[in-house]
Symmetry: C4
């Protein structure tokens, strides 16, 4: 019975549905307003050191191939650091320790302790012990850097910044410490030195601040709204928990009855029919919203800075809340077909994914091992998985083929066989079988709708055996509802 019919039949306002719809509106509002007011994140890592030569914006790494290139990069870094004040557009400066003394730049190299190599003679003499040392005098760098012995070189320094952006949205600015590490990586000794830039940031309240000329933003309303959202979610979670608890109790009583009277167990299928998956979904989404909202309030109160965790909680909650709407669409006969089809097809699809997954896993491992050194899309296990997944779903195949063009013949041949077989197998066999599965489920459900669904044991039992009902009535006169009605109502409610 849908909430609508319920209302008509019993003049019983569908509280649960009302709460859910209200919740959707609330959560979406909360989330959208949060995103809109968030503005641009403070991403200093992208901007502070942007002008460092050769540091690519995308992955913060660059490669140099000559000794001169290494030294140039090195001096460029010191140069930029020394003139930070005149350089940067943002409010940033050097970090100081407690006594207002500037913290030093640390240049730390790691190299083989001793060594001489003579490639021409195919001779070398190396002390493989690692020597770590700080380079303090910058002028001595060129002398002390014997590149062939060098393993890596790390430049670390610390910067301080203030996020003035929030002043305008009438929030208190945070102070940031940036721990910058620049690594010259020569571990491979392959003639290429990679330079990485890595910035960790840490925010804290500023020690000494004064803002005038503005009213501190009234965040009360936001807090109240968030609190209200939490309240709604608690209500919703309680209502659903109550339904689940009732269902479990009913199940227990029912199974006791069956055991007493018929001496057999209630089978698992019947048991699971008492547990409504939708309720679990709603409770999960409520929990996520509550945790997310609390985190959000903490962030607004400046006692936490974990934006990501908060947004993951709230984001997932929103996703689940919207998915939950489908349940109410299922009350309409015609929408129900589709939902039932998806429900019926889901285990089959999962099962088939399992089979296909084995082949997929095999291809992933195989591609990683063989093609890894030749193609950047195959360099890591997760990369291979993504690449193959993308290929099946219509990614740029030709580019993948082309990048494997100039390699040696054996690998070329292997890559062709590998790619053709994988793509053909998955696009022509696997995808088609998915369609066959879904089509089959759809037709089954349509036939059921016409001829009636096959009765489960429980339903058969309820239809045939009136004893349970009568007994229920006898036993449960003190209860608000008779078990049977409850049982029936519960089952109808789906």
């Amino acid at each position: 019975m849908s909430p609508c019919e319920k209302y008509r039949a019993r003049r019983h306002f569908p509280w649960k549905m009302g709460v859910q719809i209200f919740k959707i509106i609330m959560i979406t509002t909360q989330v959208v307003s949060g995103v809109v007011q968030r503005g641009e994140y403070y991403k200093p890592q992208k901007t502070i050191l942007k002008d460092y030569r050769g540091v690519d914006e995308d992955d913060y790494s660059v490669a140099v191939y000559t000794q001169q290139g290494v030294y140039d990069s090195l001096f460029y870094i010191f140069d930029q650091y020394s003139q930070l004040g005149q350089l940067s557009v943002g409010p940033i400066s050097y970090a100081e320790d407690g006594d207002e003394k500037l913290l030093p730049v640390t240049v730390c190299k790691e190299s083989y302790k001793r060594g001489s190599i003579h490639p021409s003679d195919e001779a070398f003499d190396i002390d493989a012990q690692l020597e770590k040392g700080d380079l303090i005098l910058l002028t001595s760098i060129t002398q002390t850097l014997l590149l062939f012995r060098l393993i890596d070189l790390k430049i670390t320094f610390q910067l301080k910044g203030i996020n003035l952006q929030t002043v305008r949205s009438r929030e208190l600015p945070d102070c940031y410490s940036f721990f910058v590490t620049i690594t010259f990586d020569n571990q491979c000794h392959s003639g290429k030195v990679k330079i990485y830039l890595d910035i960790d940031s840490e925010s804290s309240a500023c020690r000494d601040w004064k803002i005038s000329g503005t009213v501190q933003k009234n965040t009360h309303y936001l807090l109240i709204f968030d609190g209200f959202v939490i309240l709604v979610c608690i209500t919703s979670a309680c209502l659903c928990s109550r339904s689940i608890v009732l269902a479990v109790k009913l199940l227990q009583r029912f199974s006791r009855y069956v055991e007493d009277n018929y001496n057999r167990k209630v089978c698992e299928d019947d048991q699971s029919e008492f547990l409504n998956g939708w309720y679990l979904l709603v409770i999960l989404s409520d929990l996520l919203t509550i945790i997310g909202s609390i985190l959000k309030m903490e962030i607004q109160a400046k006692s936490l800075t974990s934006y990501d965790v908060c947004s993951i909680f709230l984001g997932t909650a929103t996703l689940l809340v919207w998915v939950g709407v489908i349940r109410y669409l299922g009350y309409f006969q015609k929408y129900n077909v589709l939902i039932l089809t998806m429900k019926a097809a889901f285990p089959k699809v999962l099962r088939f994914c399992c089979c296909a997954g084995m082949i997929y896993l095999g291809y992933t491992f195989c591609g990683w091992i063989v093609l890894g050194p030749y193609h950047e899309k195959f360099e890591g296990l997760s990369l291979v998985a993504e690449c193959l997944f993308s290929l099946v779903n219509g990614d740029d195949m030709f580019a993948t083929f082309a990048q494997l063009k100039d390699k040696n013949t054996l690998v070329w041949l292997f890559s062709r066989v590998y790619l053709y077989s994988f793509i053909s197998l998955f696009i022509y066999m696997v995808l088609s079988l998915f369609i066959a599965l879904i089509t089959d489920s759809y037709e089954t459900i349509k036939k059921y709708q016409k001829d009636g669904f096959p009765l489960t044991d429980l339903q058969k039992f309820l239809r045939e055996d009136k004893g349970f009902i009568e007994e229920s009535i006898e036993i449960d006169v003190q209860h608000q509802y008779s078990v049977l009605c409850c049982c029936k109502r519960y089952l109808q409610y789906f």
Copy 2:
């Protein structure tokens, strides 16, 4: 009965079809000729300031990261502006006010009123009131621009241009005013100053002009053609309106008859059968064409410049007119299957889109909130929707995966779960279900064609009850057609 059969049966020339076919030819001709003669649009915004350093052609924005970069950009702009005469290839110059005095360049900055920041000490003292002011002496800019206090800086000036291109197609050239705004945006105080270029253009008739050596183009023919198109469309709209009015009248009489004799209402399905959707389509397309043609004539007469609105009207009209052709294809038995299938499947598909839309919406919100700060494809709500839509339909997946690579582990994990689940769900479940829906509809229609379509109430009624017909004849002898024939003919006409 198709127009063809009608002609054979009654020697009645199918005027309506003739008009429609004629209309298709006319509108397509009009539209194509319009596009062909339109030539290249006058897009000065792309070209005038093209040489401004750092202003990228695509999105007219660039980012600088150093103080020097900000000043350089600023002076470059003034430099280019001052030598506009020697620089530009096109007919463009400075704007003047009424007294032939050059309009000044305005440099307007907005900054915090007062402030000193000491990031090293985690201390700041800011007056958050905004101070707006025009900078007039260019030389003083470097002194007065304290970048850390700056919020934004706007340079605005005005240019004038003449679109000489139209002289060659023997139309009168328009004069354009360009309102140029260059914004240095430092709202985020994140160490990156974005520079936007924004040009609004306004066209007007030139005040003082003289063209010799050419005959003014004879636009009479074009006007006549446009007028003729309008006439045809009015005729077509009238014919269709008449059919609809007749149908509505018939419906009224029919429902009165049913109410009188059988004491029951005509159900909604039967009512809707009297309303032919194709007629509504034709009328809509006619209205769009008429409005579009009038706008086109106004544009040619230089009294309007809203090219976009005109082309949207005419474009949509063309689309509808061509879609209308399908109706006539439906008269052929074999084509009809396909059209009927699409018609039958349409509500199911819409209904299913509704369900899938909920999940889609959930994913959209979730992706926007969580991945927004990490991936440019997820920065706005409409962008996320487009990105997900593209992913389902076979866009570059790997690139999307790859751009989320270097982020922190939590977000990385979330993005993987998010993308894999979304793509699998939509490509393997949702798309397959679409195919199942369509296949099912197709088979239903094929069975109907073999065994006969199920009769609607109205058809049953018409078949069984002769009373309505006789009564109609008795009552409507003065009418041109008996209601029944009319009714039958009307229904056959579909």
Copy 3:
């Protein structure tokens, strides 16, 4: 009856099949050897003027935005031309006329005859008559080029080259004349001058040549091979024509018989059953091969240079020959299902393409008109068609969406509605319906294979009526085969 069975049954070697298989081998060999020996085409247009600044390799056009840019490009061209001898790597030099005098460089400008413009005053005075003139003194260019009046400027000159590449493959080198035209296009007066480079080449035999130290390549073998291919194709075409002629004769006799005895016409379906489509395919491919081979021989004999036409003929012939192989696969029962399915589905698919094509055409026109000025993929009618076709088949959708991002709101909205509706309609409705059509055809064919194909009139007739056979025997005793056998054999041969 398949050739294989025929052979077993009658010890009749299947000449036709033998010829066909032999032909496939021959043509593929011919084509592959042709491509392999062709080497790299002589494409001087890509290379001679490659260093011209700003001339992009892809589409030979570049745009400049400043007056200085125009003059620089102009002088750069003259500069490069003057030092061609020291510059070019290839065997190229200036063209001479009959008297060994160098042909001049022509600089031809087209501009408005007279004009003064004052954009600031919104005033202009223009003589729209076009003035064409050659500029001879290069130094005077800057004086005479008033850019705002300029419409276009054409620089034309002629170069000569020798294609020495062929010496190595022991063919005679050709001499080439290159007619170079460089156009400065300012028709739009929009502040952007486009520069196009256009090179026409013409090959001819060199006038005066001497090659020593090598044997002239023995092209006899190639000619013999080509001649042999032609011979095989003629044989094949003759055999097939004979079959068709026999079939037509049989049809005539059969229809005469039916008319005489039963007084009715043979229906069109039955008539078409006498015409074997495969034979037509084979004859068409034979004709193409013959023409292509003759062209190839002419090219080798240096009397023709139309490589493209020749390769289109030979290429299409190869395609058809390979497609013809399917016919022989159809003799195997299990392969036949698939071929029959495709044959049965083909008309349905075509019919449906027709319907979908109407909507497609509507969208194409509409997109061209409305989005043309805003997106380069929508600039031409064929471009729009390709773009939409690509979108349906899984092209980069997001890029298409993204490029329409920064436009005005109305167009933005329209483009979203346009793209979403088009893609959804075609991917979810149209593609699914294709699948439904094919699945349906497949099942029909499978049922036929199990239960027997429905008999055509002709087959029924042959089965029932023995009169035709007897009469045939009586009449045609002098014929080699009785009509009936012939008829039966003919029909079995399919």
Copy 4:
């Protein structure tokens, strides 16, 4: 009977399955550990000469268009070579011969012996004999290089390097010799000189080495692990071979029995039912693993360097091992449907691929011949095949269309017809037919599962004829199992 049921029924531990699962874990561990410890491959070819101007990182080739460009490239190469010591970051130096003398750089040119060309006069006089010669004095290069006669110029030298990277993973470093060849290719005489860089590397043990300060890595554990993997694989292969041998013996006895008693042969289908494909798969994967592991041990012992071969063996083995897991999934009823469907559909799909392959081949040849000179994706036969394959599976179609835009009209038209027809045919007809095939197979299998599979002759025989069993019992009393049981068990085991 699944291993699980077997265990329950007979308390017979399923050794074979245990071995297989153990093997999967072992091989995956081996492979993953191998990849993880492999680190980055030593790819000096990418890095040594990276700074050579114009040498593109992707395909190691560049083109120059002017004489000056050729000379510049040449001198740049000598320059970089001469200062290799100061340039390179990696441990690399010049090669020496046995007597510690540096090996020389060889510059070898090939050109026409004698020749003068006068393109202006369309005259040339060439001695087509090739002259090869070494250029030793670098200063004389400009004099001796008459570019128009030059065919190619090869610079070859040799470098030595040491792969120090492995010191850190406590393996012994290899010494490498790099044979560098730089080719200036002017074979086409088309005004473009292509420069290729080609590096062959050869690794060998260093002649004279000393490593101190580190313990030689204990590779015993790795060797033991590898050995253990080999052992497991041998066990697995033996178990499977035994099963196959038993099956073959059983088959022989069975066919002898049938021949003796019924005087007929066992048909091939029945024979093939005795051969379990899974066993063959397992044995194949075992063999690959064994070979791969042996190669891996050799590589670790520095006696081999063929990483590629080893990784192809191990990779393919991993793929097969994972695919083998599907067999055990097949023991579950619900998974079995899917596996059986794929098995049933496989021959149909292959057969259909055959048909489609003919058309595909035709299109491939045709595209190669006609579009080869105009589009880089059509330059080679395998490229065309990949391009078409990618297009069908959703590659960037528009880009392919667009690149064929500016060509001559005939080719443009042909390319449109070619691409539209190919894509439509394959995406709409062929892909849909795949889906029809798979859907059909799925439904067949589902019906079989409901109604029982059709019995093969063998099964019918076993069911009906008890004689074989009795006889078997009589004969094979000394055997452990009766043939029948064996036979039955064997067949159940599938």
